[in-house]
Symmetry: C2
Subunit: 598 residues, 2 copies
């Protein structure tokens, strides 16, 4: 008898699982999971984005969803691998209406983590590969329209005499990526963007801005960056790419268009969205409305006494133009996270006197270390060489339950502490308040929990450590005077410019402005996991609040995140929208209740 192999183990588990599900034996199916098991489902079973934690929750989900989902054909894909007692396997499966891909981690023969994802809807597949359209049509077709004529007709009628099924408010990378997916699925969609052209939201940022995530993490769907793309793309290069992408993906992109008001009619199941398109009011009537205005979208500007008396300039970091013209002036930057560091470093480079006012601790993650230690296995040149492209990496990332994700990350940051000990020591010596997240789990967990509180160091930390960027820490700005600011320790700093690098608020504040306060409250706080850590109050959600899945406001969705998330989760949001467009039944399991309003 041959020794069991990882693949044999995985095949056996999948066979047992498939069989138990086929005969609707919930007890047998649940018994295949360990006591500390997690089943994360992206749409395929739950028509939701939801992690079932523990056998009881798994059983409950199956009780509600098994019959309707009718899963079949669980099959190992490739060979499974084993390391440190964990067997790792990819598999495919089908449901009544879809085809799926999944990932499995076995511990002692039982499932520890299971990921099921919807890949495509049967009968509504993207027209790609062997299904791609022909283009040239044989024969005589009187009245035939060329591609250009059809495109021009679409651009003239959609939103006017024909209504889109989906309107996406916000034409940054999130809106653009979702629109590309919907286009490929044949769902009529309009993107509204207040800036003139795709990419402008990047072009208008301060001039030194580059992406903070490395290229392998950043690809857009369908058209990866070429292999000579810089590791950290400069903002204007990204702007050009987005402009190009929106064009060749044939998006219906309405630039210079501002959404003014949106309201939902429960009876007709239709939104009325009033927009100003280059000065003209247009009323759109989509069935589905998506907000893609950015995790870092709704600027937070603290109200500080005396702000109205200030004689200099003051603006939020999102409106900061860069250091030009401030030579000889005194600049005060309130905040100590990513934008604050970028802005201060650019000032120093232009010889401008700048002080960073740090109110609370910041997690500093040196870029090289982050790339190597945190991302390297999945998103790097080496990963690509090892056969891990970003599609695979995205799924590996998605397969780690949020509940235990921090345990995967803590060792990474332990290592980073050692590797960059010198920098950290000098930062603390300079008075900078450092942290590694409440539980030492570092950058990505901070990002998921609160969307803030870190800086991916590409050089500014050295300037803080060596004093080039002046620092006042453990203080806030208590009062603003005509030509200075008074800190909470009594110090007065002369100031000609105040930059509020003070972050962003929950995205549902956009809803309050654009729809109504009631709807904003109905939807509730956006982002965060309910971890009970700083700025992420419990109870535990298990998934990011309100992202890429049904909200408590019918037909209202929220899309966004970093480039990786916008890329990967646009797949699942587009499938949920396509299913509704085609009139498929989409019974949502486990709609998350709202615990916080902001």
């Amino acid at each position: 008898m041959t020794d069991p192999t990882p693949s044999a183990d995985a095949r056996r588990w999948l066979a047992d699982f498939g069989a138990a599900l086929a005969r609707q034996d919930l007890t047998a199916a649940t018994a295949l999971f360990g006591d500390d098991a997690y089943w994360r489902d992206l749409v395929a079973f739950t028509w939701n984005i939801r992690t079932q934690e523990g056998p009881a929750a798994i059983r409950e989900m199956l009780a509600a969803r098994l019959a309707d989902t009718a899963p079949t054909d669980f099959a190992l894909d490739g060979e499974a691998t084993a390391a440190d007692g964990i067997t790792d396997a990819w598999f495919t499966f089908e449901t009544r209406v879809a085809r799926g891909r999944g990932h499995l981690r076995l511990k002692n023969g039982q499932a520890w983590t299971l990921l099921t994802t919807m890949v495509e809807l049967k009968g509504f597949e993207e027209k790609k590969g062997p299904r791609r359209i022909k283009g040239a049509e044989h024969g005589v077709h009187p009245g035939r329209k060329t591609w250009l004529e059809r495109r021009q007709e679409e651009q003239a009628t959609l939103g006017y005499t024909e209504q889109p099924y989906v309107v996406i408010i916000g034409g940054g990378q999130g809106g653009i990526m979702l629109a590309a997916r919907l286009r490929r699925l044949g769902v009529p969609t309009i993107v509204v963007e207040r800036n003139e052209k795709p990419g402008d939201s990047w072009r208008k940022r301060y001039k030194s801005l580059c992406l903070h995530d490395p290229v392998w993490y950043d690809h857009l769907p369908y058209l990866p960056f070429p292999d000579d793309w810089p590791v950290f793309a400069p903002k204007d290069k990204i702007g050009d790419w987005l402009e190009m992408y929106a064009k060749v993906m044939e998006l219906n992109y309405w630039g210079s268009t501002t959404a003014k008001k949106a309201s939902f009619d429960e009876a007709t199941g239709e939104w009325t969205v009033v927009v100003d398109r280059a000065g003209q009011e247009v009323v759109l009537r989509p069935k589905q409305l998506v907000f893609a205005l950015g995790v870092s979208g709704y600027a937070n500007v603290p109200k500080i006494a005396g702000a109205e008396t200030f004689l200099g300039e003051q603006h939020h970091s999102s409106r900061h133009p860069g250091p030009e013209g401030y030579q000889g002036k005194k600049v005060v930057v309130l905040g100590s996270n990513n934008s604050a560091h970028d802005i201060c470093a650019a000032m120093v480079e232009q010889g401008v006197d700048v002080t960073m006012v740090q109110r609370s601790s910041t997690h500093i993650a040196p870029s090289d270390s982050l790339m190597e230690l945190a991302l390297g296995g999945l998103y790097s040149e080496q990963a690509v060489k090892n056969g891990i492209d970003h599609h695979t990496a995205d799924l590996v990332f998605a397969s780690v339950p949020y509940r235990i994700m921090h345990t995967f990350h803590i060792p990474v940051y332990e290592e980073m502490k050692k590797r960059d000990a010198d920098l950290y020591a000098r930062l603390e010596k300079a008075g900078f308040m450092l942290d590694f997240g409440d539980d030492g789990s570092g950058l990505f967990m901070k990002y998921l929990r609160r969307g803030s509180g870190y800086y991916i160091d590409v050089g500014a930390s050295e300037l803080v450590a060596n004093g080039s960027i002046k620092l006042k820490s453990r203080v806030n700005i208590e009062r603003i005077n005509p030509r200075s600011v008074t800190l909470s320790d009594g110090t007065e700093l002369p100031a000609d410019l105040i930059v509020y690098a003070t972050g962003y608020g929950s995205m549902n504040q956009f809803l309050a402005d654009l729809v109504s306060p009631e709807v904003a409250d109905r939807v509730g706080k956006v982002w965060g996991l309910g971890s009970g850590t700083t700025k992420d109050p419990g109870p535990w959600e298990g998934e990011l609040r309100n992202m890429w899945k049904p909200t408590n406001q019918a037909n209202l969705w929220i899309h966004g995140g970093n480039l990786h998330q916008s890329r990967h989760y646009s797949q699942f949001l587009s499938l949920q929208l396509k299913a509704r467009y085609e009139g498929l039944d989409t019974p949502v399991y486990g709609q998350a209740p709202v615990h916080h309003l902001r």
Copy 2:
């Protein structure tokens, strides 16, 4: 003793070959080739594009080039395969200055075909993958310029205060692809194009135009089309792609710029190129000048008696706007190849009375059959599924010597004759003159030999067969009258529009106009193989005349071909230009003499 395997055979041959070359043993090296062997070299050994046919020619080339090339490290890449007595192997190798990739076919232990290609120059590799630039630069760099600032500076100075190394005349897909390669190699280049924007040369064609080659054949370098691109892309979609490609590839593309005159100064090794840039005269002084004006570039318009008396419209097919506005008119199309068929079919679709005047036979290749029988193994969904991407396909294509290429193709067209027998029979019944090339080798050989004489049928042949497109064959237009044409058989056809679908002339006629008749004659006829077949007079050249390689005019080059050729051969032309840019020694072996002037 184990049976020899294909890989073992290939390894042994490569080892023997490498060893013979290393000890400069020409006899031993030559003995490794069969009597009917071919060694095609793309730059690596010969700094040329040249096929050495037979052992004597191979020995001669080695005698001249072996010492300087200093080839080493011949290594099998992957596993070799064997079928029908032929062993097929890929290998890598190095030379003193470059890294290369090659392909080998063994017959009875001896080389039958050998392909050696230059992949990159040592020390001058493209900055891609692990070599890609960082983008964000750490630390303080006073006076640092952003990507945008450097780009804007380049656009303001190149061609004015800084001279490019290369000027490419012609900004269609050929010029664009070559410029993209040169950009990645860091060779300062300007592309001049008379139309306003990249892609306009496509946009301005008749509206029904789609690509005739299927998508897998058409990818541009570095950025393949997405997997939902139509099989046959409509002209405007290609136009948009080219426009965006030129932008994201950061080309220095001067639209609305017409080249007026160019002259070469032997003493300085520099060209003077006078251009009109949007009304302003600019003098460019590159070292290298590339003409990329199209195999189908220099329109042929026959001089027919009475043409000046014609009261209707007349234009070459390249200027044909489409069928709109010709309802109720009589249209005569002179010619029976690709453009003629497209134009006539579009007329029929609009209900316009149109007659095709066929002077000589045409090879009709139904598109589906062509895709399946001729291209399917290399450029198709199936090929991709079999692991053959376009990079591999390009090299397989390149590995077949032109001398014997027709033997590979004849069976394909034998099959096509059978498969489409019904259509061919009905075409002949309608009076259409058919051929399959002089030797039955079909479309691609006709294309290589004469660049014309065929139609890739996407529906127009049915219209000829059923009489919807009226046909007069075995005639020419003898005389043009004010409202009609008189054919050589005496027939008179009423005409309001005459379209000269009469093809294109040798590209060196552009040289006569732009440089001088002497230089045009020095360069000689462009395209064709010297096969001695119709419109391709001998003697045998072995390669396409003057394409992608040194011409007899110093520092003058010609680029172009179909999308596959423009893509693949831009690699080798860009390397030849880069080597000269870096001052490397590039002794050209076997410069082809000129046998024909046009």
